[in-house]
Amino acid sequence: MTDHMTNDPRIEKILKLIMELGSGNLEAREQVGGNFDAIDAIIGGLNMLGEELEASTVSREFLNNILKTMLDGLVVANTDLVIQQANPAIEVMLRYGENELIGQHLGKIFENEMRLFESLSSSVLDAGYFAGVDGFCRSSSGVMIPVSISISMMKGHDHREDNFIFIIHDMTEIKRREAELRIAAVTFETHDGIVITDSEARIIRVNRAFQTITGYSSEEVLGKNPHFISSGRHEKDFYREMWHFLTELGTWDGEIWNRRKNGEIYPEWLTITAIKDIEQKVVQYVGIFNDITARKKAEEKIRNLAFYDALTNLPNRRLLADRFRVALSQSERSRNFGAVMFLDLDKFKNLNDMMGHEYGDILLVKVAHRIVDIVREMDTVARIGGDEFVILVEEIDSDQNIALQKIALIAEKIRSALTEPFTLKDYNYYSTSSIGVCLYRGHEKSASDLLKSADMAMYQAKESGRNTVRFYDPLMQEAVEVHAMMENNLRNALVQNHLRLHYQVQVDKDGRPVGAEALIRWYDPSQGIIMPLEFIQIAEESDLILQIGEWVIKAACRQIAMWACDEKKCRLTLAVNISARHFGMADFVGRVETLVKDYQIDPSRLKLELTEHILINDIGDVVTKMNELKALGVELSIDDFGTGYSSLSYLKQLPINQLKIDQSFVRDITTDINDAMMVKTIINLGQNFHLNVIAEGVETEAQWTFLLENGCLASQGFLFGKPVPIEEFNSLLDSL
C-alpha cells in the first residue's frame, strides 16, 4: 500500500476518507484545512456525503424497524401488481415464510379483490391513497381472512418506479366481535326482560321485553333504580340477602314480585349478574327476568288438579290426608282437641235424579261456600266425593267438654245453614244434611280411623231421621255391627218365611170395623217379635225393601181373598204401607195388577198407603202410576199426612181416596191446640177435596170424640185394637 501513497498529504486524506466511507465506515470524517481551496472543498464535500449516507442508513434502519414491528401487514407492489416488499406482519398473518411473497403477483393474496383494486386504481392514482376497503386475503393454506385494506401510491422518479403500498389490517378479531355484538344485540332483544344498570344500580339500558312486561318505556326508567318497580311484597331482609349474594358470589337468582305500570303485581324469575372489570370492580349489573305469571297459574292449576276438587275448588281427599297429618301432629304438640266432621247431604241423589246433575253440581258448590263461610280460615273443608264433605276443625280446646260444646255449635251452625233454601238457577231447593262428628287429640287415633268414626256418626245421624248432627262414641260402632247383622238376618227371615202380617182394625164413626192396616212383624226364632221400626230402615238401605214390599202386598191380597169368602169380612178394606223405593219400581203397577188378578180379589178392598215422600220423586211418574192404580180399582191413601210435603197442589192432581192423619198429631189432640188445629185443618182439607179422612193412633175416647166432632169418620188405634196376628184379628171381628 505504501508504494501507492501519494506525496500530497491532503490527497492522502481524501483517499483515506473515500476508502473509509467505501468500506462502510459512514462515521469517517476528515478535518478541513484552512486553504479554502478545491481540495478543502472536496474534503468538506466528502464529510457531508458521509453525513448524508449515515443519515440515510439510520433512516432506512428506522423504517425497516417500523416495518418489522408494525402490527398491520404492509405490501409494496409495483404498477404490474408484483409484490416488491412484504413486512413480517403480513407474512405471519398469511402464513408465508420470510420473503416468500416477494415477486408474487398481488392476486396470490387478493384473489377476490383484484377487480376492486382495478376499479380503485384510478382513485389511488389521482388522490394518492384510498383508505378502508374491506375485503379478504387468502392465506398460504387457502383460508380467507377478513381484512381492511388501505392503499397509497408511492411515486418514483418516473411512472415505472411508482409503487402501490397496501396496509392490511387483520379484521378477524373485529369481525368476531362484531358477530358477537350482533348475537348480543339479537340476544338482548329476546322474550326475557333485560335491565342493565351501572354500578350504582341506576338503569342504563332496558330491552323491549322489559318494556312489554313492565309497561314502562325506556325513557321512563333510565337513570332510575330498578327498586321503583318493586311490589312491596318482599321484606327488607329479602333484598338484603339478594345484595349479599350479589356482592359475595356476583350473581343471584330467584322469584320476585314486581309491579307493572298499571299497578298489577306479577311474579318474575330474575337472574342478576354483576359485571366486573379486570380489576374485579363491579361496573354493571345485568338483570334478566321472565314473567312467570302464566307458569304460576299453570302450576296452580296442576296443584289444584292434584289437590283440589275441580267442582267446588275445595281440598280433595289427598290434600285432606296431608292436612290431617299436620293437624294431628299439631294436636300432639299442643294437646288441644280437634274435630272431624263428616257431612252428607240428605237425599242428594233425589235432586240429581229429579233435576239432573247440573243442578246437583250447583248445589254442591253452594253448599261448599256456606260451609267455608262458617268455619275458620285455618280449618279444612274438603269434598271427598259425591255429596260427602269432611270438615277438619283444628285446635279447638284442651278441655274435652269445652271442645265438644264448641264443635257442637259449629256443626249445628253448618247444619242450620244448609237448611236455608238454595237457589239453583230458577229453582228454590230445600236441602238438609247429616253430620257425624268425631273428636281427636294427637295421634290417639289414625286419620283413617277418625274418618271412619265420623262417617259412622254421620250414618247415625241419617238413621236418626237426617238433618241431624251426631257424635261418634264407641257404642256407635257396636250399633253399626248390629245393623249389619240385622240386615243379614232379615234376608234370612224372608227366605225362611219368618215375616208375618199383623192387622190393626180400622173403624167407622160408629166403631164398626171397616178395614184394617196390615203391619209387618219379624218373628225371629231367637229374639222373638221384632218391630218394623228396628228393621225397615235396614231394609230401606238395601234392596230388601223391594222383596219385603212385594211379600206384604202378596200376603195382603191372599188375606183379602180369604176374607172375600166370609160374609162378615168381605167388605173390609186392607191397607198396606208402600215404601217410596218400592213404588218407584218401573213395573210396580203391573205387579200389583198381577197379584190382584192372581188372587182374584176386589181391587177396591186393597188400599195402598203411600207417604208424602214418594212425591219428591218424578211427580209425573207418580201421577201416572197412581192413575193406573186408580184405574185398576185399588184404593190410595196418603199416610202420615201433614208430616211431609203436604201440598194442596198434589191433593188436586193425585187420584187419592184418603188422607191419613199422622198419629203424632192425634196424640196430643186434646191438649195441644196446635195439634188440634192441624187435625181440624186436615179434616177440612179432606172434606173440601172429597177425600176420606182417617186418623191413626187413636187411643182414648176423648181423642175419638174430638175426631168425630170435627168430621173424621174413620179411626184406627189402640182404642179399637192393637195390631194382632190374623187369628186374633179374625176372632176380634167375629166377636163384634
Partner: protein, 139 residues
C-alpha cells in the same frame, strides 16, 4: 449575539458567532459568514434567531454569502432548510468558493426533499445576478 444599529437611518444588524446579518435598505436581508466557519446546529439556530428578530414578523428575500466556510454540519443544513421558509421569502446563495459550490448541492437536494421545491432557493456566482433574482421577491 450582538445587535448593532450601525447607520444613522437605524440599520438593524445582528452579529452572531459566525455571521453578520442585516436588512438592506432595498428590502432584502444579507447574511455574511465569518471566514473559516465550522457551522454547527447551535450556530444555525443563533443565525435564524437573529433573522427572526430582524424580520419582525415579515418575510424578506435573503442573500447569503457563505464565504470561505470550512464546514456545515448536517444538523445545521437540515435546520436551515426546514426553518428558513418561516422568515425568508426566497434565498439566494453565492457560490463563489469551491466549498460553497459543494455545499449548494447538498442544500439543493435537502430543499427538494424537505420543501418539495416549494421554497425558492437559487445559487449564484455573482452577487449582482443574485440581487437581480431576489428583486422579484421584494415587496
Amino acid at each position: 449575539m450582538v445587535i448593532e444599529f450601525s447607520h444613522e437611518n437605524v440599520r438593524k444588524e445582528i452579529c452572531t458567532r459566525n455571521a453578520r446579518i442585516w436588512l438592506e435598505p432595498e428590502g432584502y436581508i444579507k447574511v455574511v459568514y465569518t471566514p473559516g466557519s465550522d457551522e454547527t446546529l447551535e450556530q444555525a439556530e443563533d443565525n435564524l434567531g437573529a433573522l427572526e428578530k430582524i424580520c419582525c414578523g415579515k418575510q424578506y428575500p435573503v442573500l447569503i454569502n457563505p464565504g470561505p466556510h470550512k464546514s456545515m454540519s448536517r444538523d445545521a443544513r437540515v435546520y436551515y432548510v426546514k426553518n428558513s421558509p418561516k422568515y425568508a421569502s426566497a434565498v439566494a446563495v453565492l457560490i463563489g468558493s469551491p466549498f460553497a459550490r459543494v455545499l449548494s448541492t447538498f442544500l439543493k437536494s435537502l430543499n427538494q426533499a424537505v420543501n418539495k421545491d416549494k421554497f425558492q432557493v437559487a445559487f449564484f456566482v455573482s452577487e449582482k445576478e443574485a440581487l437581480n433574482w431576489l428583486k422579484k421577491f421584494i415587496d
